[in-house]
């Protein structure tokens, strides 16, 4: 049997970095092949070469035994390669059928296309009404539009780039059934992800990339998730240790917090109520864009709330700005590292001043104590193993993981009473992520209250004492994280606000 796709020694270099270095892999017909690797390992570059978006510097590709050199995505699609991108390219003001027609070379009549969409969507268990406006669809439904757009071309190879990052567990289940049906029909799937459990469930083979090199191929069903993670990272992983420390003392209480989103496309918070105890980690999950940024901003003081809605240590802090809250011990680390948690063009020393003036006493009569700021920055660099030439380095010169360690470390070393972190390990390599989670748990063990807002459910289950989910700006009632099933979490993320019946 000839392999469907064979890559031999593909190499692609960009200025300053070799994105793919002599990568080879083989995909058989009807195989679900996982492409596994950390951020920056070269997964995207590799699939872009297959899809004709990037031309390899050297090496060759063979599709069904024949040389395959797609000059552009159109050529790749003609050869039977289709791709679902992580970021959708859809027009919100058009309906589903119109969006699909836009991507076609010779679109059929609208009525025929609509019938075809309905047929394919039913056949593959992806219900989708061709007449609905894309603007009204959820992220999961939008992904279906992209998948059906691909399926209409009868692809031999379907490339999916991190498809589950925008889905609830139930939607993931539906997607997997579709993919399994495709496999049974002989379609090969190249599945890019870094979620190991998913890959173990779905994939027949896995190729692991590290720093642009193929470091191994394995059968994911034979390997443990941990073994694959260690291949991905190239070192032995350290699993965070935790012991619950929650005390009866309430650190933070939100009472019907309602805040209008500052952005026109944001999600306003509606009647969010919760309490966080000292020594406790509260995990807040939810699909992106359901109010996570707004909740972070409301807690950090960037957006002010109505009187009495935010009580911290028994005092009303709803009307206080960020520095007044820092003075009381309420610290935060927003999701976006560059431009929000840190100023990209400023040095690490200057970025230490960004949040450290109050608690580290870096000012005197309004004048900055640069020596103190530098030693604080160096303390963070040292304490959190930030790999950088020194405190004078600009924040944007650091890798995502190192900058994130710096940002989280900067807040932790200010000894917060309450720390709010949004997506603490987003885009961070596995070793740094483990270090950050451990640091958060250590902080909780010292008696600080911690709110972790994240879209990574595995992370939340790993470190949270209690769990709640945001859905369209509303928060479910927090429940103990221990013993929560995937189904219950999915229902909470989907907006089932009364969990008592389910649990």
């Amino acid at each position: 049997m000839t392999a469907l796709l064979e890559l031999n020694g593909l190499t692609k270099a960009y200025p300053g970095v070799v994105a793919n270095d002599d990568v080879s892999l083989v995909i058989q017909p009807g195989e679900v092949h996982a492409l596994l690797g950390e951020n920056g390992a070269g997964k995207s570059t590799l699939v872009k070469m297959i899809y004709g978006l990037v031309k390899p510097d050297s090496g060759e590709m063979r599709l069904r035994g024949e040389r395959f050199t797609p000059a552009e995505p159109r050529a790749a699609r003609a050869a039977g390669v289709a791709m679902v991108f992580q970021h959708f390219s859809l027009f919100e003001a058009l309906d589903v059928a119109e969006n699909i027609a836009l991507g076609m070379e010779n679109p059929p009549k609208m009525r025929d296309l609509a019938a075809e969409i309905t047929r394919v969507s039913n056949a593959y268990g992806l219900p989708l009404d061709p007449a609905r406006l894309v603007g009204d669809l959820s992220a999961g439904e939008r992904q279906r539009v992209e998948i059906i757009r691909c399926l209409l071309q009868n692809p031999k190879l379907l490339i999916m780039d991190e498809p589950t990052s925008v889905l609830t567990p139930q939607e993931v289940e539906i997607l997997f059934q579709t993919l399994e049906k495709l496999r049974s029909e002989g379609t090969s799937i190249l599945y890019i992800s870094h979620k190991l459990e998913e890959i173990r469930r779905l994939c027949d083979a896995a190729t692991i990339l590290r720093l642009g090199k193929n470091v191994g191929t394995c059968d994911p069903r034979q390997e443990t998730a941990r073994a694959m993670a260690e291949m991905m990272v190239g070192q032995v992983l350290h699993v965070p240790e935790r012991t619950p420390h929650a005390t009866a003392e309430v650190a933070l209480e939100l009472r019907n917090l309602s805040v209008k989103s500052p952005s026109a496309f944001g999600t306003s918070l509606k009647d969010v109520s919760l309490t966080v105890q000292k020594g406790e980690v509260l995990g807040i999950g939810g699909v992106a864009g359901n109010g996570q940024d707004e909740l972070t901003a409301a807690l950090s003081g960037e957006v002010l709330a109505g009187p009495g809605q935010i009580m911290f240590d028994g005092a009303d802090v709803a009307g206080l700005g960020p520095n007044a809250r820092r003075a009381l011990g309420l610290l935060a680390a927003p999701e976006e590292r560059l431009g929000h948690a840190a100023a990209p063009d400023m040095s690490l020393t200057e970025n230490a001043v960004l949040t450290g003036t109050v608690r580290k006493s870096l000012t005197k009569n309004g004048f900055l104590n640069w020596a103190g700021a530098r030693s604080f920055a160096e303390e963070v660099i040292k304490g959190f193993d930030v790999r950088t030439p020194g405190a004078h380095t600009a924040a944007r010169a650091l890798s995502g993981g190192n900058l994130q360690k710096y940002v989280i470390g900067r807040e932790i070393l200010q000894k917060p009473e309450l720390l709010v972190v949004n997506q603490p390990t987003w885009g961070v390599d596995a070793a740094a992520a483990a270090a950050i989670r451990q640091a958060l748990l250590d902080l909780a063990a010292e008696g600080a209250a911690i709110v972790v807002i994240s879209q990574d459910l595995d992370e939340l289950m790993e470190i949270s004492d209690r769990f709640a989910a945001l859905n369209e700006g509303r928060l479910t009632k927090p429940v103990p994280a221990k013993g929560l099933t995937v189904d219950q979490i999915g229902l909470m993320m989907g907006g089932a606000h009364d969990m008592e019946a389910a649990s």
């Binding site: 950090s300 700005g321 960020p322 520095n323 100023a343 990209p344 001043v353």
Partner: protein, 360 residues
């Protein structure tokens, strides 16, 4: 093949080396242009850059240099603070006019009282006038989110009409036999902004410009407010997260730039210009925008840029009269200087690579 590669960090070396490089490139390109016009390029370049400082009539030109550079620097320092914070006051010309009118009005109100207190009062009035004029775009921005670029620019034209009205009406010299224009401050010693050291061109406005340079340098390098200004310009969301109050910052930046422009106007009207008149303003407020950017929005850079621009104006005029160069050629030469300064700036953030695209 030549390619540009983004540097991970801006180059410290090039951020200092690009301005001299730009001046050299301007001399070469300008020299070629002068040669094409049939003039001796070396003589022309020497007349523009050398003679005003070291030539035969340098004793006169050097003073002129300070007189021209003073208001440019004073205004540009104020503007640069706002520009760094992403607050675009384009209307310094208007604040300059209003500052001059307010200061002059206070002085003329005391005429002919000879007291040491008159001039300081005028200085304060000039600063307040510019500040209040700049508060109009500032308050509109913080209250109604209007665009300060448009509002401040349009207020320049309003200020020009007020100037004309003052020169013809309220502030007209009662002993001036009906001619437009106020009393001349040269004939009112208590209100005259005389040279501090005779013959040097160094008047109080120039001194104020030097003080502003030092003040801005300390503010930006050492003070929390300066840090917040830089932060707000580079990363507005981070600034908010860092506790910067955007409303206060807008009002501060517009206020300080307005006050400094007003001071520049007051020192000009009581010194080199001598009186309020219809054609009092000559565009210092707009040229200062160029000075601010030429100086990389850095106080020391602005000091040098102000002197350099003043030099090309004075040297340019000298070249026109001495060598018969057309005024357009001088303007083209000044344009080249700006062009090269901005063009070579790319070296600060990018690295030039020659070769066929092999990656490092």
């Amino acid at each position: 093949m030549i390619r540009l590669e983004k540097r991970p960090e801006p180059s410290k070396l090039w951020s200092w080396a690009t301005p001299p490089l730009a001046v050299i490139l301007t001399m070469i390109a300008g020299g070629l242009m002068f040669a094409a016009l049939g003039k001796d390029p070396v003589a022309a370049i020497r007349t523009i850059f050398w003679d005003p400082i070291f030539g035969e009539f340098a004793f006169y030109y050097r003073g002129q240099l300070l007189v021209k550079a003073g208001p440019l620097i004073l205004i540009a320092i104020g503007l640069s603070l706002g520009f760094r914070a992403g607050i675009w006051n384009i209307g310094a010309e208007g604040q300059y006019i209003i500052g001059a009118i307010c200061g002059a009005a206070v002085g003329l109100a005391f005429y002919p009282w000879e007291s040491f207190i008159v001039f300081p009062l005028m200085v304060i009035a000039g600063a307040i006038g510019g500040l209040l004029w700049a508060m109009i775009p500032g308050l509109l921005k913080v209250k109604f989110n209007t665009n300060e670029i448009l509002v401040s620019l349009l207020l320049v034209y309003v200020a020009e009409f007020i100037l004309a009205s003052m020169a013809l009406g309220a502030l007209r010299n009662p002993d001036g036999s009906g001619f437009p224009g106020s009393r001349n401050f040269r004939s009112y010693p208590a209100a005259f902004n005389d040279e501090i050291i005779a013959g040097t061109g160094m008047h109080w406005g120039v001194a104020a410009a030097f003080i502003a340079v030092i003040f801005a340098y300390v503010l930006l390098a050492r003070h929390q407010l300066g840090f917040q200004i830089k932060l707000a310009g580079q990363a507005p969301r981070a600034a908010r997260f860092g506790g910067v109050n955007p409303v206060r910052l807008v009002l501060f930046c517009l206020g300080i730039s307005g006050a400094l422009a007003g001071l520049a106007g007051l020192f000009e009207v009581t010194g080199p210009a001598g009186q309020i008149n219809i054609d009092f303003n000559v565009g210092y407020g707009f040229t200062a925008i160029i000075v601010a950017f030429l100086g990389r929005l850095h106080p020391v850079g602005i000091l040098l840029a102000g002197l350099l621009l003043a030099l090309t104006y004075i040297g340019g005029e000298a070249a026109q009269s001495a060598l018969g160069l057309p005024a357009a050629a001088i303007q083209a030469f000044q344009g080249m200087l700006l062009f090269f300064l901005l063009a070579v700036d790319v070296l600060t953030n990018f690295r030039v690579r020659f070769g066929a695209g092999e990656a490092a």
